[in-house]
């Protein structure tokens, strides 16, 4: 997993609430293997019309090229558990989403892919959205250790689950952590089979 420590980047703004994972990546694109890259599917139906022509969506604006921070309103990534929503953001180049709240499954998927879901208060999100630096395509500084986003004179702090923070800072891989617990897992399994015999599928 890619580490996340600090980042200096331009920002994309999506001043909407409830940006669901169906909008982040419409279901019809979920057939593709990850190896093909998911960046072109990000917000596809907002960025393109029915014929596939660009709609001049703000995230495609040349002044935002290479932006790794996305700022949005509450309940970002609600809905479907599709990890493709995170792949689309990550492959587009987004490393951090700042919003007042996130869909639980989305946030968990994000961390697994080294993407930081930074929880910022509603007031601070509004401040970021109207910041001259952000609006002008200037660079914003994100620091995970300090849990701050700095845009010019504006310093905003964000919340992140401490476990996720450690994981992102270290780039820890869950499977490796779990394999270290194999003996405990085997013991649990053996004991559990006798205390909950009904838990095994019967036929």
């Amino acid at each position: 997993m890619e580490r996340f420590t600090a980042l200096e980047t331009k920002a994309i703004t999506l001043p909407q609430a409830n940006i669901d994972t169906d909008q982040l990546i419409p279901a019809r694109f979920l057939k593709h293997p990850r190896s093909e890259g998911y960046g072109r599917f990000l917000l596809h139906d907002l960025r393109r019309d029915a014929s596939g022509s660009p709609r001049d969506h703000p995230i495609d604006h040349p002044t935002r090229a290479g932006a790794a921070l996305l700022i949005a309103r509450r309940n970002f990534g609600c809905g479907s558990s599709r990890e493709g929503a995170v792949y689309a953001l990550a492959d587009f180049g987004v490393r951090c989403v700042a919003a007042p709240s996130f869909g639980d499954i989305f946030a968990s998927n994000a961390v697994k892919n080294g993407l930081l879901p930074a929880r910022v208060s509603e007031a601070d999100v509004e401040a970021l959205l109207t910041s001259q630096v952000v609006a002008g395509g200037g660079r914003v500084h994100i620091d995970l250790s300090a849990q701050t986003i700095i845009a010019g004179n504006l310093v905003v702090s964000f919340a992140i689950d401490p476990v996720w923070k450690t994981q992102l800072l270290n780039g820890w891989d869950d499977v490796d952590l779990t394999r270290a617990e194999q003996a405990r897992i085997d013991r649990f399994r053996a004991e559990d089979a006798s205390t909950r015999p009904w838990a095994t599928p019967h036929e």
Partner: protein, 470 residues
């Protein structure tokens, strides 16, 4: 040390925690893992790491997201859907995972099939790469949706690292009025607390209003927990749960079943258990509820009108309402009963069980639908039962298409979709922009309400059409 009781959520958690790290994260044992066509991303990750499936006998495959519902033959051959189905067949066969596939008489939507086959039981942890896995909580299971990376982790280890969720109890008193259902109850709750109102929480639904629900109704309620932002929803098992499960294919049999029931009776929150959040409301206050916007929280009772953005003090809320109404093609202050629909869809893991089809048929019997529509039963088992009960005949006589089972027009991945700009009265779970197809407009409602909309061609109080019938 003071002794406080434990919630059902805590009891299930404690029974599955293998080890807990200093940071509070626990490694949780997973009793059942359900996979579908979309799980290929997880299988790819396992293969990419050179891993293998640790406990194939605890994993079950079900084909649902891409299965054609009108022309089953499209599931074979070289097309996109066939390829997705073949991929699931290959991945499950290679790993030794049992599959309820396209040609299996038990096929259907994973969240309908697993309870039907007794794969869902009280006290189990159940995961699936699908957010509506919360459905299984209706049986007192700890069931939640996961992403592809987590699914890969479960395939390789049969465990997951999880943080103990906050606990919320939603106490529902009273009983629902005639013509109302768990769907109205759930939409009422979401409208009240918001699409993120239960974020970070596991929700236990309790109270007489919940006990009075059938297992089908409980599944609808728990299914929609995710639309309130909850990690999962669950209900303590009771006699109705045990009766539903008795004799199901994969459930324990005979003495083993009795032993299981004895254990399952302990799966309830202690009297003195404390929750992080509590909410209560009365089912007898619930009225038929439909959505008017692009989030399940955009819901209102059928006698209401669309909101006026100008009436919101908060500019970001006003903007959200303006944007939703613009997408839906609706003016502020439009009475909901004046909204005309173009088609109807009765199906999905939310509302395609036998009871749902009976409720829709009670409205449609002897009547015609004035719009085209699709009825896709939740499973082939439900399909056969509906045919035996004469429900399919009622739908067909009304002019609706009676098709095979799958996720179908709820997620529009299998070719069933709502054309751009069209308005669909739908028994599904998400009215997101483009959910039922690019440019589609969705109004969520109960099966009875969808049937009533089919008859009149506009959003309608189903109770008006049920007078003298129920």
């Amino acid at each position: 040390m003071s002794k406080t009781g434990r919630t059902l959520i805590d009891k299930l958690w404690d029974a599955h925690a293998i080890t807990t790290r200093e940071d509070g994260t626990s490694l949780i044992w997973i009793d059942r893992h359900l996979v579908h066509e979309g799980s290929f991303l997880a299988f790819d990750q396992v293969a990419g790491r050179g891993g293998r499936v640790a406990h194939p006998q605890l994993t079950f495959g079900v084909a649902d997201h891409y299965v054609p519902t009108r022309e089953r033959a499209l599931g074979r051959g070289d097309g996109d859907f066939a390829q997705m189905l073949r991929q699931l067949e290959d991945n499950t066969r290679r790993a030794g995972i049992r599959l309820i596939g396209l040609d299996d008489p038990r096929q259907g939507i994973v969240h309908v099939v697993a309870p039907e086959q007794g794969l869902t039981l009280p006290g189990l942890t159940i995961v699936c790469g699908d957010s509506h896995t919360s459905t299984h909580g209706a049986f007192g299971a700890y069931a939640f949706g996961i992403g592809a990376s987590e699914a890969a982790h479960v395939l390789m280890t049969q465990t997951l690292w999880q943080k103990r969720p906050k606990r919320m109890r939603v106490a529902i008193g009273g009983t629902l009025g005639v013509g109302l259902s768990a769907k109205d109850l759930a939409l009422t709750l979401i409208a009240r607390i918001g699409a993120d109102g239960a974020q970070g929480h596991a929700v236990e639904y309790a109270g007489a209003g919940v006990r009075a629900l059938s297992m089908e109704g409980r599944m609808t309620l728990c299914n929609l927990a995710i639309e309130a932002g909850a990690r999962l929803g669950l209900i303590a098992p009771d006699e109705a749960t045990f009766e539903f499960l008795r004799g199901r294919a994969f459930a324990p049999k005979g003495d083993a079943f009795q032993r299981a029931v004895e254990d399952w009776r302990g799966l309830r929150s202690d009297e003195d258990a404390e929750f992080d959040a509590e909410l209560s409301f009365d089912a007898s206050d619930v009225a038929p509820t439909v959505t008017w916007g692009v989030s399940p929280e955009h819901a209102a009772t059928i006698d209401a009108s669309t909101p006026d953005p100008a009436s919101f003090a908060d500019e970001s809320r006003a903007e959200a309402v303006r944007d939703a109404l613009a997408y839906m093609g609706l003016a502020p202050g439009t009475p909901l009963t004046a909204i005309r629909i173009d088609r109807v869809f009765i199906g999905s893991c939310t509302n395609a069980r036998i009871e749902d089809l009976r409720a829709a048929a009670a409205v449609l019997a002897g009547r015609k639908s004035v719009v085209p529509g699709l009825v896709s039963p939740g499973s082939l088992v439900v399909k056969r039962q509906a045919e035996e009960e004469g429900l399919s005949q009622i739908f067909q006589d009304a002019g609706l298409e009676w098709v095979d089972s799958g996720c179908s027009m709820c997620v529009a991945m299998n070719g069933d979709s709502v054309p751009a700009g069209e308005r669909c009265a739908s028994t599904t779970n998400r009215n997101f922009k483009g959910r039922q197809g690019p440019g589609s407009r969705t109004h969520l409602m109960s099966p009875a309400m969808a049937a009533a909309a089919a008859v009149t061609g506009r959003l309608t109080d189903a109770r008006d059409l049920l007078a003298g019938r129920v």
